[in-house]
Each structure stands twice: as C-alpha cells, then as structure tokens.
C-alpha cells in the first residue's frame, strides 16, 4: 500500500512540472522518465531473476524501428507506439525461448549479441529500414512548448504504468517465483516453479515498456539510425541505474535514473571529451564501494541510529 501512495504522490508532483519549469528542465525530466522505464524494465529480469541481460538496447532499437516504419507507412502515432511495445514483447519472448536456458556469462553474451545482430540486419536492409542512412519520422505540427509537454507526459505516463506493473509483480506469484530463481534455480524448479516460463515472462516484461520508450524516443528526436538506438550504452545504463538505486527494489531504479542523469548532465556540460571515462569512473566506484545502491547508505544510517535510542 505504501508503494502505491508513493507512486501517486510522485506522479502528481511530476504532472505539475510543465507549469512551473522551462523547456530545458522538461527535456531533462523526459529523459529521467525514459531512463526510469529502462531501469525498471531491466529490474524484472536482472534484479528479480538475477539474469544479467544486455538485451535492453535490442528492445529499445526494435521498438524505435517498429514505430518509425509503421508511422512512415501511415499509422497514427499512438497506435505505432502500442504496436512497438507489443512487437518488442513478442520478439523478447521469441529470443528468450532461445537464450534463457543459458546462465551467467553465456546468457550475458548471448543477450549482448542480440542487439548487434539487429543492428546488422537493419544496416543490411536499406529499402525497408533506411540502412545506415537512418530513418526520419513525421513531425508533429504543434508548437515547441506543446511538443515538449506532449513527450514529457507520454514518457511520464509510461514510467507510471511501468512502475505500477513493477509493484504488482513484486507482490504476486511471478515476483516471488523470480526471486526464488535468483536464489537457486534448480531448487525452485524442483519445488514447482516453472523456471523457464517465469524467466520468459520476466524477459518479455523487460521488453514491452522499453519498446514503447524506444518508439516515443524515436518520435521525440525525429531521426533514428542504427548506432544511436542499438548503442551498447543503452544496455549498460539501466544496470548502472539499478545498481545505483538498489537491486530488486521498486523505486530504486527511478532514483538511480535521476542520479545518473544529473551526473551525466554535469559531465556533459563541463568535460565533454571525457564523458565516457567519467561514466566508467562512477561505475567502478559504485561496484567497489556501493554494490547495494545509494539507498543502502540511508538504511545503514538508520541502522546505526537505532541502538542509540
């Protein structure tokens, strides 16, 4: 119940943002929402089931291209976004069937290669996907401010739906089963958890919202090309955000998204040439000193305060 109240409060607070801030802040907030969706989605497979998936970039690009191609063939925006999500989910279920029997490093590599394969396929079909030249998307004929608000509300809505699904999953049978798989897959199989079906469900869940996010992103930036939407960093950043916020928690991914974006913005503004190294540096520090996320500092502080009382 506490989670639902937190979600509603956050949603209301964020919904009034367009009335009190500039378009620049709105753009950042849209990106935070997008990052939160990606991190939250990765949390289903990576945080709950403990499978280190690098497929986020594949789903993101898949959604972006599905929506772009549909729109260029005359589909309305919203319908294209929805189809992108469903297509990404179907794709994940299909790919998941093939690679989810792998574990650990092997799964990580296989999922990493999915995006590379998609990138190569997109590159090799220029008539259909635009190939290396990329694709342009239809422009919305509204004012820049209205457009900024439109995309902010779209991403925010997606983030809210995604978090709501996360709350439901965390407390139902699926979430419980996934946590069992994370602790000991063989044991959970023996105890009657159909690990394969659960993992595939988690993988599909980790794809659907990312697919929509990719579609919204494509409409937002109006031009996509393979190196942009299949970038390996799209697969890495969700992990960093979840590690920042706390693995397997509900609001951790959103917190991680906010921290990462704030950090990125500072680095991009001040040290453009070393932004990759700066991200690398934060990853190294995070893994070495804060493997349970920033939120764990707070919990430790509470725990230390407790005996004093």
């Amino acid at each position: 119940m506490k989670n639902w109240i937190t979600l509603v409060v956050l949603a209301v607070l964020l919904a009034v943002l367009p009335f009190v801030s500039s378009n620049y802040v709105l753009r950042l907030a849209t990106t935070v929402c997008m990052y939160a969706v990606m991190a939250q989605s990765w949390n289903f497979i990576g945080g709950l089931a403990g499978y280190p998936s690098f497929a986020t970039a594949a789903f993101f690009g898949f959604g972006a291209y599905t929506s772009a191609i549909l729109q260029n063939h005359g589909a309305p925006v919203m319908l294209a976004w929805g189809c992108a999500g469903l297509a990404a989910m179907a794709f994940a279920a299909f790919i998941g069937g093939a690679i989810l029997h792998l574990r650990g490093h092997y799964f990580a590599i296989a999922s990493l290669i999915v995006a590379e394969m998609l990138r190569e396929i997109v590159n090799s079909m220029p008539d259909f996907t635009g190939g290396g030249k990329g694709l342009n998307l239809p422009i919305l004929r509204i004012s820049p401010t209205a457009e900024a608000q439109f995309f902010f509300y779209a991403m925010l809505g997606l983030a809210i739906v995604c978090t709501a699904v996360a709350i439901v999953v965390h407390h139902n049978k699926l979430g419980f089963g996934l946590r069992c798989i994370q602790q000991n897959e063989d044991a959970s199989n023996i105890l009657g958890v159909n690990a394969y079906a659960y993992k595939t469900a988690a993988f599909a869940l980790s794809a659907v919202f990312v697919g929509v996010a990719g579609a919204i992103y494509a409409s937002w930036v109006k031009y996509i090309e393979p190196p942009d939407v299949f970038d390996v960093l799209i697969a890495i950043k969700p992990m960093v955000m979840v590690l920042l916020g706390g693995l397997g928690t509900i609001f951790g991914p959103a917190l991680g998204a906010l921290i990462l974006l704030a950090f990125e913005e500072v680095v991009w503004r001040n040290f453009l040439t070393i932004h990759a190294a700066a991200l690398g540096f934060i990853i190294v520090l995070l893994v070495l000193f804060l493997p349970n996320g920033v939120a764990s500092l707070w919990r430790e502080w509470l725990a230390r305060k407790e005996p004093a009382r």
């Binding site: 990576g46 403990g50 280190p52 093939a98 690679i99 792998l102 650990g104 490093h105 092997y106 990580a108 590599i109 296989a110 290669i113 999915v114 590379e116 394969m117 190569e120 396929i121 590159n123 090799s124 390996v232 890495i236 992990m239 960093v240 590690l243 040439t273 070393i274 932004h275 990759a276 190294a277 991200l279 690398g280 540096f281 934060i282 990853i283 190294v284 995070l286 893994v287 070495l288 493997p291």
Partner: protein, 288 residues
C-alpha cells in the same frame, strides 16, 4: 583453385584470432571474469608497437615483448588493485566493473592518441611468395606463425611450469587450491596479467595488418567472444581451434556473401552455437 586461396587466407587470419582470444579465454576460465577490457588491451598493444616502430625503429615483431611487458604490468595492477576485490561477486558485478574500466581506458586512449587511424608501414616488407597456386603475404604469414607460437608457449607454460600448474589448480577448484598452499589472490593477478600480455602481444602482431584506432577495441572483443564460445572456455587448444575455424568461416562467407555480411554471419553462428553446444566444439571443459 580459388578455394585453396580462400582457405589459406582464412587460416592466416585464424591464427591471429587464436592469439586474440587465448588470453581472454584464460581469464574467463580461471577467474570466471569476462574481461571487457581485452579489446582495449589489444589496441593499446598495437599503439605500443606503433610508437616503438615510428620513434625507435623497432620492428613490431620484436615489440611483442615490449607491448606484452607493458600490458602485463597494467593487467597485474588492475587485477591486484581493483578486480580482486570483487572477483568472487556475481557475474553482473564483475562484468559491469570491467566495462567501467574499459570506458576509462578507451576514453583515455581516444584523448591521448585521437580516433584517427594509424598504420605501421614496414620499411622492408617480406613481400609475397606462393606455394603451388596459393599466394601468401609474407608479413601476415610471419605474424600468424608468431601468434601460434605464442599460443603454444602459453600452453607449455600452463602445463610445465610451477606457476602454470598453480593457475590450473585454481581453475579446477579455488578452495582446494588455497588449502594446498596456493596464494589464490596472487595467482588471480598473474593470470589476469598473462591474459593482458597475450592481448598486448596480439596487438603488436596485428599492428602490421589492421589500422590502429581505439574504435577497434569492441571489434577485437567480439572476435574473442566468438572464438571462445567456438572453442570452449579456458582451453588453449580450444581457442586455437576456435580461432582457425572462425578465420576460415569468415574468409569463405566474405567470398560467398560479401565482406559486410561476414560479421553478421559470425554472430549468427555464435548464437546458434550457444543454443546447441554452449560448451564449445571440443565439447568438454578444458583442463591443460
């Protein structure tokens, strides 16, 4: 007779792939760490050879030792100082850590050496010679022979030396090795450093063949992945076989489908192999 030529090209390429992958495979097999840094290590080795050639006139084949030594030191420091702290942590942690380190190293190389492609133009190339109907570029063949020689040397090191036996012992059973008096942390560092040495040596050999740029790091890493899965994890003969097989496959697929499809094909092959035979072509866990 074109097929003999294609097969020969593939084998020459494959010998170099074996050298690229063997260090990666060793680190993966012994430490259970996927070393994302490997591609950047190779590029760094190439730069060492490039600068040694341009400024000091040292032939890249001799720079193998220099590049290897530089990378050995770097690898030892990285493992002993940073990676050892989390070497027993789950996959996600070690993978993310080496990825972060790779972002730093690659960015540092981009700043220091720029993204422009450099090339080693040998003053006295060996020229080409032919065996029957097959034409062979001398420098490439020499590089491939040296690459295979290094791989064999690594194999002998693992089999015959005291440190090699200790590495294999850690690979088989970390706890048991520790109980038998093996200093596991030091062996971890030495193993990682040997992996980096092989990457540096491979980089020096590749410097006479491929253009040098930090942007090539992920490409080499991808090759190492494919070879490793083809040949089976942590096994030196497996990496050799995997490298040669990949080289021949790429060579033939670029002839039949065009060079731009070769990468797609090798990745498709990798996915297929992961699906049917995750333990590699040799089909067993390799203990040297």
């Amino acid at each position: 007779m074109i097929y003999f030529q294609i097969a020969a090209n593939g084998l020459v390429l494959g010998g170099l792939y074996a050298c690229i992958a063997v260090g990666f495979s060793l680190v993966w097999g012994v430490l259970n760490v996927i070393n994302i840094l490997h591609g950047s290590f190779i590029v760094l080795g190439s730069y060492v050879a490039y600068f040694a050639y341009v400024h000091l006139g040292i032939h890249p084949f001799i720079s193998i030792v220099i590049a290897g030594a530089v990378l050995y030191a770097l690898g030892y420091v990285l493992q002993a100082g940073i990676i050892n702290r989390v070497v027993m942590a789950p996959v996600l942690i070690t993978l993310t850590l080496t990825f972060g380190l790779d972002l730093i190293l690659n960015n540092a190389m981009l700043v220091a050496f720029t993204a422009d492609y450099q090339a080693v133009n040998l003053a006295h190339p060996l020229g080409t010679f032919h065996v029957g109907p097959v034409y062979l570029p001398g420098d490439r063949v020499a590089a491939m022979v040296l690459a295979l020689l290094l791989t064999v040397l690594l194999y002998r090191l693992l089999r015959d030396s005291r440190i090699g036996r200790a590495i294999i012992a850690v690979r088989m059973d970390r706890e048991a090795a520790a109980l038998m008096g093996v200093d596991v942390r030091r062996i971890n560092a030495v193993t990682f450093a040997i992996g980096a040495f092989m990457a540096g040596a491979a980089g020096a050999l590749l410097s006479i063949i491929f253009p040098i740029s930090p942007l090539n790091g992920p490409l080499f890493l991808g090759k190492a992945f494919v070879v490793c899965v083809l040949g089976g994890l942590g096994s030196v003969p497996g990496a050799m076989l995997g490298g040669l097989v990949l080289g021949v496959i790429e060579s033939f697929s670029s002839y039949w489908f065009g060079p731009e499809r070769a990468v797609t094909l090798s990745f498709a092959l990798l996915l297929l192999l992961l699906f049917v035979r995750p333990s590699g072509l040799l089909g067993r866990r390799g203990y040297e």
